[in-house]
C-alpha cells in the first residue's frame, strides 16, 4: 500500500478499529464498511452513538449509507477530485492544524527548481518520457532542494513496492525549509497552487454531487478536527481498485496530515482489507517483489550481484530503514540456517532475482501466450474473481498442470468443462489436481487482520478425509522436492537443498479434547511462528523484538516486523486474549506489529514538546520525571528519546531522527504532503478519469493517468473515452451475505437463501429509458463480455449530473460465478486488465457498459455468452408492486 507508505512511512492502516469509537467524525469513502466489514462497523456505530458524524461518499446508497448521517453520491473514479476539493477547502479557509503541520509534515521543505507541477503542464508533471510512458526521476527534479534523484529507482518495467525505495535516501535529513511558508517552492505553496482549481463547483461538476453536499462534508470534517477533536477516514478496495488508487489514498493522507489527524486517538486512515489475512500476506509476502517484512527482492537490473552491493543500494542512511542489513542477514539465517555463513554472503546468492514483472496480471497474460506451464492456486479463484475473468480462464486453459487447493470445486477447478464459453473439455490439455483444503478450525495458525493484529487460532478438530492445511501441504511438498533434488551440486538447487525445513512436531500432536491427532506428519505451526519471531543462533533463545537483531549472522529472524510475537518459550503473544477494562487498546489481546503498537506514528498525539495536544485527545506523552514516553499504547518512537533531542551533524540511522519527528520510517521524520519519491505517477494526487469513462477530464487536458499499463491484448479491448456505444458507468460492490467470488459462501444454503441471485442495481430513470422492469432480466455488456442479471430498480442508485448532463451509473455485485449451489453471471467478465504504475493494480471499480432488457441468449450480437442460469423459477417471483418506489410511472 504505497499510498500510505509514501505519505507516512508504512503501508498499513495507521490505527485500529476499536479506536474509531473515539472519532468525532468518520468519513467512509471507497468502502462499504457496514456490508463488507460488519463486525468492525460496530466501532463507527459506537462513535455515532457518542455523537460523532458519520459520512458516506459512494457511488450507490448501501447499508453503510443507511447508517450515516450524511450520504453523498459521486461518480465512481472521481475520488481525487472530491478529496482535492477538500484539501483546497482546508487550505483556503485556513482550517489546517498549523502547529501540527509545521512540526510534523514536510510543508515547509523546499523543492528543487526543476520540478514542474500539473498546473504548469496541463495535468502532467516534469520528467515524463513519452517513449517509456514513465516519469524519469533523473530529469524530473521532484526531490528536495539539494538532493539528487533517489539512487535505487528501478527501471520502469519493474513495478516494485518496497519501503526503502519509496522512502528514498536523503543526503541531508534536514533539507532546506521555510517555516514562514513564504518561499514559492516550499511544499505548502506547491500544494496550494496544485489544488487551487479544485473548487466546490469543479468538484460538483466532476463528481456529480451538489455543491452543498460537498461543502457540508468539508465543513463537518474541519469542525471535527484540530486540538480537541479528531476525524478518521475509512477506505477499502473502492479506493485501491482504480488506475489512480495509490494517489487517492495519498490524497486522503494529505488531508489527514493537514487536519492533524494522524497518530492521534479517533484519527487516522483505516485501510479495511478485503480478504482474511491479506495484511499477513503482504507482511510475509506472497508478492513477487518483496521478501518478508517489506525487504525488497533482489533484482538483476540493479547492482545486486552480492549481498554487499544489495545492501549498499537498498539501505537508507537516515531513519529506521538504516537497520536493513540486520533484518536481511537475520532473514537469510532463518532460511538457510548453518549453511548461511559470512563467507557465502549468508546464502544471498540462492535467492532468485527479479528480471520481470511477476505480479498476477502480467503472469496470466504470459500464461495466455503459453509461457507459463504450471500453477498452484491456494484459496484463489481467478476464473471468477480476477478482473477480466474470461481472459483468466482462457489463460488457464493453456496450462500443462494446475493444482487447486480449496474447500469446494470452485470455478477455477471446473472451468475446463463448464462456464459461459461452453468449452469442450477435449480441447483443454491441462492436468488439474483438486486438493481439498482444511478450514481454519481444522488447523493451527495466525490471521493478521486489517489493523496488523496477529491472532492465533488453535486446531479444534482434524480435517475430514483427505483435507489438509496449506501449511501441511507445502511442508510435505518441500520435503518431497528436497528428496528429489538430494545430492545435486548444481548452483541453482542449493537454495532449495539448504532451506531449513525442520517444522515437524517433536512429540505427537494432540487435539484439544485430549485425543491424538490422526495427522502426526503435519508441521508444528508454532515452530514456524517462533522462526518468524527470531532467535539467537548460538543458544537458540527467542529474541524479544527486532531491536535485538544483528547483521553478523548471530541472529535469525523470519520476518523482522513480526519480531516480538513469540518473545519467550511458551509465550505466544498472538494467542493472548486478555481484556483490559482500563485500557481500550487491549495490549494483551493478540500482537500488533510493529512491537505491539496499536496506533502507528502515535508520537504525533503529543505536541512538539511532548505534551498531549489536549486532555480530550491524550494518548502518548513525554514523562519528564521518568524520562520516557508513556500512555495507553506502546510508543511508536524510541521510548527514551526526549522531545528536545536534535540529531548531531552527520548522524545516521535512528540517531538522525529528531525528538519532535513522529514519522520515524521517513528519512526526514516527517509526514509527506508532497512525495519527492515513491509514487511513480506524480508527487501530488491529480484527478485523472478512469481508463474507460464517458466523461472528459474537466480539470486537465490530460484525460487519464499517463503512466498506466494498458495491456491492449486480444480479449482485453477497452472503450476509448466518451465512447457513445457504452455511455453507462459501472462499478462493482459487495454484499454482506456473500464473500468475494463466492467460493466460501455460494456453497452454503444459509447464505444462498439470503442472496440467491445475481442482480444489478440501477435507477428508475435508467430502467425507464431502456424499458427494463424491476425484477425482470437485463443484459449488461461492453467490449469484453456480456452478463445477465435480475434488475434491481432502486432509488439507491441515482443518475448524476456531470458537467451539465446526466450520467447513469449501475452497481454490480461481484459474488456470482458458474460453480456452487447458486450460480449467476460474473461481474468480472466485464472488468478489464490494466495496471497502475505503482502496484500493478487493475481498475475493476470503474468501467463502462451498456444495458438492455432480456437474456444474453436473446441477442446474437453480444461479445460473449453469459453463464447459463439454472432457472429455479422461470419468471421473477416478485410482483411489480413489491417495491413501489422502484417503479417509474
Amino acid at each position: 500500500m504505497p499510498g500510505l507508505g509514501t505519505t507516512m512511512g508504512r503501508g498499513a492502516a495507521t490505527s485500529f478499529q476499536e479506536d474509531l469509537r473515539n472519532s468525532d467524525c468518520i468519513l467512509i469513502m471507497g468502502s462499504n464498511m457496514a456490508e463488507a466489514h460488519p463486525v468492525g462497523f460496530r466501532f463507527p456505530m459506537k462513535a455515532r452513538e457518542r455523537g460523532a458524524q458519520l459520512i458516506h461518499v459512494d457511488p450507490h446508497f448501501t447499508r453503510t449509507s443507511a447508517m450515516c448521517q450524511q450520504y453523498v453520491p459521486i461518480r465512481t473514479g472521481s475520488d481525487i477530485a472530491f478529496l482535492g476539493g477538500l484539501i483546497r477547502y482546508v487550505l483556503d479557509n485556513d482550517r489546517w492544524f498549523r502547529e501540527y503541520v509545521l512540526a510534523y509534515t514536510n510543508a515547509a521543505t523546499i523543492i528543487n527548481e526543476e520540478f514542474q507541477d500539473a498546473e504548469d503542464l496541463e495535468g502532467m508533471f516534469s520528467g515524463f518520457d513519452t517513449k517509456t510512458k514513465a516519469y524519469d526521476y533523473k530529469k524530473a527534479g521532484w526531490s528536495y532542494e539539494g538532493e539528487e534523484v533517489a539512487k535505487s529507482e528501478p527501471p520502469p518495467e519493474i513495478k516494485t513496492e518496497s519501503f526503502s525505495q519509496r522512502l528514498a535516501s536523503l543526503r541531508n535529513p534536514t533539507p532546506p525549509s521555510d517555516p514562514e511558508l513564504k518561499h514559492p517552492r516550499c511544499v505548502m505553496n506547491i500544494v496550494r497552487r496544485h489544488y487551487e482549481r479544485y473548487t466546490p463547483e469543479m468538484v460538483a461538476a466532476t463528481c456529480g454531487c451538489s455543491v452543498e453536499e460537498f461543502l457540508r462534508v468539508a465543513e463537518t470534517l474541519c469542525a471535527n478536527s484540530g486540538r480537541e477533536r479528531t476525524s478518521a477516514i475509512v477506505y477499502a478496495v473502492g479506493w485501491t481498485q482504480h488506475s489512480v488508487g495509490v494517489q487517492i489514498i495519498r490524497a486522503a493522507g494529505i488531508l489527514q496530515l493537514l487536519l492533524g489527524n494522524i497518530g492521534r486517538p479517533g484519527g487516522g486512515i483505516m485501510a479495511m482489507r478485503g480478504h482474511a489475512s491479506i495484511q499477513g500476506s503482504t507482511d510475509v509476502p506472497t508478492l513477487y517483489d518483496l521478501l518478508p517484512g517489506y525487504i525488497p527482492q533482489p533484482a538483476v537490473m540493479r547492482d545486486h550481484a552480492d549481498l554487499h552491493g544489495y545492501l549498499e543500494q537498498e539501505k537508507v542512511t537516515h531513519g529506521y530503514w538504516a537497520n536493513l542489513p540486520k533484518f536481511m542477514v537475520s532473514l537469510l539465517k532463518a532460511w538457510y540456517g548453518p549453511a548461511a555463513t559470512k563467507d557465502n554472503d549468508f546464502g544471498y546468492s540462492w535467492i532468485p532475482r527479479l528480471d520481470n514483472n511477476y505480479s498476477q496480471l502480467p503472469t496470466f497474460l504470459r500464461m495466455a501466450e503459453g509461457k507459463v506451464r504450471g500453477l498452484f492456486l491456494f484459496g484463489q479463484n481467478p476464473a471468477a474473481g480476477a478482473p477480466n475473468a474470461k481472459l483468466h480462464r482462457a489463460a488457464m486453459r493453456q496450462l500443462d498442470w494446475l493444482v487447486v487447493r480449496d474447500w469446494f470445486e470452485i470455478e477455477s477447478a471446473c472451468y475446463w468443462y463448464k462456464g459461459p464459453e461452453g468449452v469442450d473439455p477435449k480441447t483443454v490439455p491441462t492436468e488439474i489436481f483438486f486438493m481439498p483444503a482444511a478450514s481454519s478450525p481444522e488447523k493451527d495458525g495466525t490471521l493478521t487482520n486489517t489493523q496488523r493484529l496477529l491472532q492465533w487460532h488453535d486446531k479444534a478438530i482434524d480435517p475430514t478425509g483427505d483435507c489438509r492445511s496449506d501449511l501441511g501441504f507445502l511442508f510435505d511438498l518441500g520435503k518431497r522436492l528436497k528428496a528429489l533434488y538430494a545430492g545435486s551440486d548444481k548452483a541453482r538447487d542449493q537454495g532449495l537443498l539448504n532451506l531449513t525445513w525442520d517444522y515437524g512436531f517433536d512429540s505427537p500432536p494432540m487435539l484439544p479434547d485430549g485425543r491424538p491427532s490422526r495427522l502426526p506428519d503435519e508441521p508444528d505451526a508454532e515452530k514456524v511462528l517462533r522462526e518468524i519471531n527470531g532467535y539467537t543462533v548460538a543458544d537458540n533463545r527467542q529474541v524479544k523484538g527486532f531491536s535485538e537483531l544483528k547483521d553478523d549472522g548471530s541472529t535469525a529472524c523470519g520476518c523482522w516486523i513480526y519480531s516480538g510475537v513469540y518473545p519467550a518459550p511458551g509465550y505466544n503473544r498472538a494467542r493472548e486474549r486478555k481484556r483490559n477494562p482500563d485500557n481500550y487498546t487491549s495490549p494483551n489481546w493478540g500482537f500488533a506489529w510493529p512491537h505491539n503498537r496499536r496506533m502507528m506514528y502515535n508520537r504525533a498525539s503529543a505536541d512538539p514538546e511532548g505534551r498531549p495536544w489536549s486532555e480530550r485527545k491524550k494518548y502518548i506523552w513525554w514523562d519528564e520525571a521518568a524520562k520516557r514516553w508513556t500512555g495507553v499504547d506502546e510508543p511508536d518512537f524510541e521510548p527514551d528519546k526526549a522531545p528536545s533531542y536534535r540529531p548531531p551533524e552527520g548522524a545516521t540511522g535512528m540517531a538522525s531522527i529528531a525528538g519532535n519527528s513522529p514519522f520515524i520510517m521517513k528519512p526526514d521524520g516527517k509526514g509527506w504532503l508532497y512525495a519527492p519519491a515513491g509514487t511513480k505517477d506524480g508527487p501530488l494526487p491529480t484527478h485523472y478519469e478512469p481508463i474507460e469513462s464517458p466523461v472528459a477530464n474537466l480539470l486537465y487536458r490530460q484525460q487519464e493517468n499517463p503512466t498506466i499499463e494498458r495491456y491492449d491484448v486480444p480479449m482485453n479491448a477497452k472503450s476509448a473515452p466518451l465512447d457513445p456505444e457504452y455511455p453507462i458507468v459501472a462499478t462493482t460492490f459487495r454484499l454482506t451475505e456473500h464473500y468475494l467470488s463466492g467460493p466460501m459462501s455460494r456453497f452454503n444454503s444459509w447464505l444462498n437463501e439470503l442472496q440467491p441471485a445475481m442482480f444489478i442495481e440501477l435507477s428508475p430513470e435508467l430502467a425507464a429509458e431502456r424499458g427494463i422492469e424491476h425484477g425482470g432480466w437485463l443484459v449488461a455488456w461492453n467490449k469484453r463480455g456480456a452478463i445477465e442479471a435480475r434488475a434491481m430498480v432502486t432509488r439507491r442508485v441515482r443518475p448524476l449530473q456531470v458537467d451539465g448532463r446526466t450520467v447513469h451509473q449501475i452497481a454490480i455485485p461481484f459474488h456470482w460465478g458458474f460453480a456452487g449451489e447458486v450460480v449467476g453471471s460474473s461481474a468480472n467478465d466485464l472488468t478489464s486488465i490494466v495496471a497502475d504504475a505503482n502496484v500493478s493494480m487493475h481498475e475493476a471499480k470503474a468501467f463502462v457498459v451498456n444495458v438492455r432488457p432480456g437474456r444474453v441468449e436473446d441477442f446474437k450480437d453480444l461479445p460473449l455468452r453469459a453463464a447459463p442460469w439454472p432457472t429455479y423459477r422461470a419468471a421473477p417471483d416478485a410482483p411489480r408492486s413489491a417495491q413501489p418506489e422502484g417503479q417509474e410511472d
Binding site: M45, R63, S749, E753, T794, R795, R796, P876, A878, A882
Partner: protein, 277 residues
C-alpha cells in the same frame, strides 16, 4: 416386599420429575436504530438450531429474500426501503430483525389444546415438540404471524429463545452474533430499563420519533418479553398497530353462542308446543 423391577419401571412412567427451578425472566430488546441489516442473526439462528435453508427465491423486495418468519426461519431481517423521499420522511432504508415476541400472555400458549406450548423457567414461550400434535391453533392465534407449521413434521415451530443455550448459561445465538448490539439479550426487567434510557437518549438527541414497541402492556395486550425500539409506526415494520388476543373474543363469543342456544331451545320448544295443539 420386593417389587418386580418391571412393575417399578412401569410406575416410573407416572412419576413426574421436579420441574426446573424458576429463573429470572429473560428476553430480547431489539433496537432497530442500530441494525445494519447484516443478517448475522438469521444465519447464527439457523446454524445453532440446525434449521434448513428455505430455498433460493430472489424476491426483488429490497435485500429481503427470506420474506417472513416461518417454521424454519426464526429470525428475519426486514428491509424497509423508502428512498423516494415521499411520505414526509427523508429517504431512508430501515432494517429490523424480527423474532417471536415471547408475549407475557401469549395467545399461542392460550390456544394450545395439548399443553405443548408452555412458559419455561426463563419465562420464554416454548413449543415442546414431543407434545405438539400439529393442530395449528397457535398459528392462527398469534397476532404477529410468528408461529408456523412445518410441512415435513407437521408440528409448530418458532424461536426457542435458545432454551438449550440459556440452560448452559449462554447468550442466544442471534444476540451473540449481532455485531452492533442491535439485538440485546438479558433479564427482561434490566432490558426494559435500558430501553427506556435509550429512548430518552435518542429523544434528547432530537430523534423524537423513537419509541418502544411492546415494552409495556396496553389495555388490550400484554407486554412483550421480546420488544423493539422503532422509529415509525409499527405497520411500517410490518408489525400490528394493536395486536389482539383471540381469548378476548371468547366472552362475547360464548355469550352469543349461549344466547343462540337459548333462543333455539325456546324456538324449538315453541314449535313442539304448537305441534301438540
Amino acid at each position: 416386599m420386593n417389587a418386580n423391577p418391571f412393575t417399578l419401571e412401569m410406575l416410573d412412567v407416572w412419576k413426574r420429575p421436579e420441574p426446573p427451578k424458576q429463573q429470572v425472566e429473560t428476553g430480547f430488546f431489539t433496537d432497530t436504530t442500530l441494525c445494519i441489516g447484516c443478517k448475522a442473526c438469521e444465519v447464527a439462528c439457523k446454524q445453532w438450531n440446525q434449521l434448513p435453508g428455505d430455498g433460493f427465491h430472489w424476491t426483488g423486495n429490497s435485500y429481503d429474500n427470506t420474506s417472513a418468519l416461518s417454521a424454519t426461519t426464526w429470525r428475519h431481517v426486514a428491509f424497509v426501503e423508502q428512498m423516494d423521499g415521499t411520505g414526509g420522511h427523508v429517504p431512508r432504508w430501515l432494517m429490523m430483525s424480527d423474532v417471536c415476541k415471547h408475549c407475557v400472555q401469549a395467545p399461542c400458549q392460550e390456544a394450545c389444546p395439548t399443553g405443548s406450548l408452555i412458559y419455561n423457567e426463563f419465562g420464554n414461550v416454548y413449543v415442546q415438540q414431543d407434545i405438539c400434535n400439529g393442530c395449528a391453533y397457535c398459528v392462527v392465534a398469534c397476532p404477529f404471524g410468528v408461529l408456523d407449521r412445518n410441512h415435513q413434521d407437521g408440528k409448530a415451530h418458532k424461536c426457542t429463545l435458545c432454551y438449550d443455550r440459556q440452560k448452559d448459561g449462554m447468550t442466544p445465538a442471534c444476540a451473540k452474533s449481532c455485531p452492533t448490539a442491535s439485538i440485546q439479550f438479558g433479564p427482561v426487567e434490566e432490558l426494559r430499563e435500558r430501553a427506556r434510557k435509550r429512548v430518552e437518549e435518542l429523544q434528547a438527541r432530537g430523534e423524537t420519533d423513537a419509541y418502544l414497541y411492546g415494552a409495556e402492556a396496553t389495555e388490550e395486550y400484554s407486554a412483550l418479553n421480546s420488544f423493539f425500539l422503532l422509529k415509525d409506526k409499527p405497520t411500517v415494520y410490518n408489525l400490528p398497530e394493536a395486536p389482539k388476543r383471540p381469548v378476548d373474543n371468547l366472552k362475547t363469543n360464548y355469550l352469543v353462542s349461549f344466547a343462540t342456544a337459548v333462543g333455539l331451545t325456546v324456538l324449538s320448544a315453541l314449535c313442539f308446543s304448537r305441534g301438540k295443539k
